[in-house]
Structures are given as C-alpha cells and as structure tokens.
C-alpha cells in the first residue's frame, strides 16, 4: 500500500513545557474527508495546528505527498499545498469578499480568475455579495468566505478548524455539503469538529482523540456504529 497523501505520525509537543500531544497520528488520503473529534481539551485543534506547523513538535514527522515538511513554517506549507481555515478571525472584515479571495491568492503569480470563478460557483450566496465587506456578512457566509479564501491557493489539503462553530444547524448542513463537494474535486480534507455525530456522518476517516493521543481510529460510519464510542463521546 502506498503511503497516504498526508501523514503526520507520532506527534508530541505543546506550547509550553507540558506536552499537549502525546503521540498523535493523523493520515488523510487524496480526496478523503478526515475528521478529528474528541472531548474538550483533547488537543484536537492543537493536533491540526501541529500538522500546519504552528506548533513546534518535539517528536514526530509530517509528510505531504511523500515530502517531509516537518521543518517548514506555515507559510511555506501553504506553498506546498496546504490550506488552513482558522476557527475565528478567518476573514479580512473591512475588505470586500472579492478582496478576501484576492488576498487568499496573494502568493499566486499566475492568473487566478478561474479559481475565483470556481469558488463563486461553489458558494453562490457569497458570489452575490462580492462587493460587500466580509465583516458585514452573516456567520455562515463568513465561513464560506473563509473557506473560499483558503481554496484560492488551489490547495491539495484543506484544513478546517471547527468550521461550524456558532452557526445554525441548517447552515451547518449546507457547509458540510459544500465540504463534500470540495472533497469530490480531489482535495483532501482534515477537519476538527465539535458536532461529532454530523461530522462523522460525512467522514471517510474519523479520529477520536483523548489527552493528545489516538483513542479510536476508523471509518466515520464504523465509529458511529461503535457502541463504546457512541456511549463515551457521542452522548448515547
């Protein structure tokens, strides 16, 4: 079996002296949706930030498409094909939607109008508001802008840190539909989610993290079916 597209193995590290990650492994294949769930303080967001290079790892290795990127900064990882949507402060509020997307494409030297058209196609709701300041949009639309901004570099791996935090259930379903659509174009998705049940429903792979380490790893549907996981993490 070929090694997976993204592979982050045995990650250990944290922000200060104490480690938050204690041997966490995450892998995503091309076009797969991988979801990280787990209780509060399990290190879900930290694990994703470690994959993105926002955290110094004491141990462990991150490879993307077979290339070792463990030593690279987040900016360099963006150039290697990673796209990251932070949980909060993920847009430029006083800039228009269109300018947000342009800033997403800042590192691109080529013509990015096609990509922008694709993003607008994916999110028709924000396409209508391209001249409006992103800060004036609704919560769900802001998230769409944030995802759109990250897509502008044409990433091969898109990472989303709790994209549905603070949006209504309807908007959440809509957003998940879009994410599935993105994955269908061949982009791998790695996502941290609070709404574990709904997220696992669309997940090809699910990781249940506890205290910075993998507790359960399986396909989304298998995890949903596992009575142990259901009882402990999905509230029955």
């Amino acid at each position: 079996m070929a090694s997976p597209y993204l592979s982050a193995t045995d990650m250990r590290g944290g922000y200060g002296k104490a480690d938050i990650l204690n041997g966490c492994t995450l892998t995503v294949d091309k076009g797969q949706i991988a979801v990280i769930v787990g209780p509060n303080g399990a290190g879900k967001s930290t694990a994703m930030k470690a994959v993105f290079g926002m955290l110094n790892l004491r141990e462990g290795r991150v490879t993307l498409g077979g290339e070792d990127i463990t030593a690279l900064t987040p900016q360099e990882r963006v150039r290697k094909g990673m796209g990251f949507v932070p949980q909060t402060h993920n847009i430029f509020p006083t800039m228009t939607v269109e300018e947000n997307l342009e800033m997403g494409a800042y590192i691109r030297e080529d013509d990015y109008r096609d990509t922008m058209a694709q993003v607008y196609e994916l999110f028709p709701a924000v396409a209508d508001k391209r001249r409006q300041n992103a800060g004036e949009l609704s919560g769900g639309q802001r998230q769409q802008v944030a995802v759109g901004r990250a897509l502008m570099t044409r990433p091969s791996l898109l990472m989303l840190d709790e994209p549905t935090a603070g949006v209504s259930p309807i908007v959440m379903d809509e957003l998940f539909d879009r994410i599935i659509e993105v994955a269908r174009t061949g982009i791998s998705i790695l996502m941290v989610e609070q709404n574990a049940r709904q997220a696992l429903e669309i997940a090809d792979v699910g990781y249940v993290l506890v205290q910075g380490a993998n507790r359960y790893t399986d396909s989304g549907s298998a995890l949903l079916a596992d009575p142990e996981v259901r009882r402990t993490f999905l509230g029955g």
């Binding site: 987040p74 900016q75 963006v78 150039r79 990251f84 932070p86 402060h89 993920n90 847009i91 430029f92 509020p93 006083t94 800039m95 300018e99 342009e102 800033m103 997403g104 800042y106 590192i107 901004r149």
Partner: protein, 335 residues
C-alpha cells in the same frame, strides 16, 4: 449686500483657513492612522517627523535657490519636497530597523512601542534643533507669488466691503492634499501592495498565512506615513511658518483627528482632520463682525474661546468621542 458681505467674511476668515488647516491635519492624521493600523501603536514621534522632514525640505529649498532654481509663481519647496521625503524616509526606515523591529518581533505591548517612539521623538527633536540656520528659530521659506486672489483685487471686482484673500499656500495645500488622498486611496483600494497593507491591518495572522510579507508591509507603511507627514509639515510651514515646537504641539490635534475618525481608518482620518480644524477655527473666531452684517449688534467679540485655547477644542472633541464612541465616527480598531 450685507448677507453677501457676511458670506465673504465667513469664507475669508473661517472656511478658507479651516479648510487648509484641516487638510494639513488630515495628512498628518493619515500617517498616524496608517502606522496605528499596521504597527498598532500611537506614534508620538509623528510631530517631530513632520518637523525633521520639513527642516530637510527647507535645507534643500535653500540649496535649490542658491543654484538659481525656482518654480516661478509656486514655492521652490514644492520641488524640494520629494527630496526631503526621500531623506526623511531613509531616516525613519532606519529607526524602524534599529528600534521598532525588535519590539515588533517580540510582539511587545503597544505601550512599549509608544515609549520607544518617545525616544525617537527626542532624537528627531534634537536633530531638528541642531540643523544649521533652522534650529529653534521661526523660519519662513515661501517664495513665488503670495496671493491667488488678494483683498484689494477682490474688493475691486465685487464692490463688496469685505475682502477675500486666497493665498497660494492655501490653494496649494488643498490641491496637494486632494492629490495625495486620491493617490493614497487608489493605492490602498486598487494595488496589490495596498490591499496587502489593508489585509495586514485587518487581520495580521491571516495576512501572514496568505503569504503577505510583514516586513514589506511595514516598510511601505513607514514610507507612506513619512511622505504624508513631510508633505503636511511643508504645507503647514508654507502656510504659516516653520517652528519646531509648533510641530510638536500639532501632535494633539492630529491625534484627535485620527481618533475622531477611528484609529486605523484612513477615510476617518481625513474627515477627522477637517472636523477638528473647522471646530477649532469656528470656536476661536470672533463672530462680532459677521453678526453685525446679519443685523445682530454685540458689545462682546462673540468669541467662544480665545485663540490660545485652540488646543482645548481638539481635546474636547477627543473627550466627547472617547465618551460616546470610543472607536471613532468611522469605526476604527478598538484594540
């Protein structure tokens, strides 16, 4: 006829002086607000940057005059301005490299950067004071024609009692400010580098993620702020006169203008400059004569505040905004 006289008097004593003063404040406040938006601190050295840059412009002006170059009816200083801006920008960039960058990298508290700007202020102040032939003196460096419209001409044309004067320096201030604002807003809204500046001001972390080079943005900000400051200082000096201490004092109305408009918001800074200037002039102008034209005779001067208290006007505006709308009229950054 009296109504016309009153209007001309208002135009002559209130509108024209306030508009040119407001334009000068607006340019200064734009610099303050840009630095605030990008570097996230209130630059106390801004007034002294204006003074230092203007002193350089004056020196270059004298140099040009000495070799017989002039601009005819326009002041030679206009020709010296780009050179003065370039020299001053080199100095300011050096201060960023030596002083501010260290704290930026450490992500120090903004107040530490403010404190560092006080140190830079001292040094620039000392350098201005030591500049040969300028120092702490009052210097006039305007040459060329003085008036676009003179009082006598105006009276002869219109037959009104009240005269109206438009000095070249005032007209120049308005024209240059309009051009500078047009260029700046075009740059910020249209160009890639300008958008990168706005993005960095909006959300620093996301800008970094998007691959925007922070050092480049910061350098660009210093250069633009310096260009605006030196332009403002030169126009102010042409309009009134150059005296280093006055440039330190103008810091207060400039800060007031930037805060009124919302710190970090360029459009607000321009509006704030005019709000502060018009309030200052309107409050300190004796309205007796104009009231008389309109049929109100008064024994008093009808002056709300004596001119010595013009800074109180900026202060009161500042306080009112802080009390009722701390983020400014145009919603700047609150943190």
């Amino acid at each position: 006829m009296d109504i016309l006289n009153a209007l001309v008097a208002i135009l002559n004593f209130v509108v024209i002086p306030a508009a040119s003063y407001g334009a000068q404040l607006a340019l200064g406040a734009l610099g303050v607000t840009l630095i605030y938006g990008i570097l996230r601190f209130s630059n106390f050295a801004h007034g002294d940057t204006m003074a230092f840059g203007t002193a350089l412009v004056i020196l270059v002006t004298w140099g040009l005059q000495a070799i017989g170059i002039s601009l005819g009816p326009l002041p030679t200083a206009l020709l010296a301005l780009p050179i003065g801006i370039a020299l001053c920008a080199v100095f300011v960039l050096a201060t960023d490299r030596v002083v501010y960058r260290f704290y930026r990298r450490k992500r120090s508290d903004p107040i530490i950067l403010v404190m560092a700007s006080v140190g830079v202020m001292f040094i620039m102040n000392g350098l201005t004071r030591m500049t040969p032939k300028i120092g702490v003196n009052e210097v006039r460096f305007d040459d060329g024609a003085r008036f676009l419209i003179s009082v006598q001409e105006f009276k002869a044309w219109t037959g009104l009692n009240e005269g109206l004067a438009l000095r070249v320096s005032q007209a120049l201030t308005l024209v240059v400010t309009a051009l500078a604002c047009w260029a700046l807003f075009r740059f910020l809204n249209r160009s890639r580098a300008g958008k990168a500046m706005r993005a960095y001001s909006d959300n620093e972390d996301l800008a970094l993620l998007s691959g925007i080079d922070p050092e480049r943005v910061v350098r660009l900000t210093w250069i633009i702020a310096t260009a605006l400051a030196v332009t403002a200082g030169t126009l102010y000096g042409l309009d009134k006169s150059f005296k280093a201490f006055n440039y330190f004092q103008i810091l207060l109305p400039i800060f007031a203008a930037a805060i009124v408009g919302g710190l970090g918001n360029p459009l607000g800074a321009v509006a704030g400059g005019f709000i502060v200037a018009f309030s200052e002039v309107a409050v300190t102008y004796p309205w007796k004569k104009i009231a008389a034209y309109l049929g109100f005779q008064s024994d008093g001067m009808l002056q709300l505040l004596s001119t010595e208290y013009k800074f109180a006007v900026s202060f009161v505006i500042l306080i009112v905004v802080l009390l009722f709308r701390p983020t400014g009229l145009f919603r700047g950054k609150s943190v």
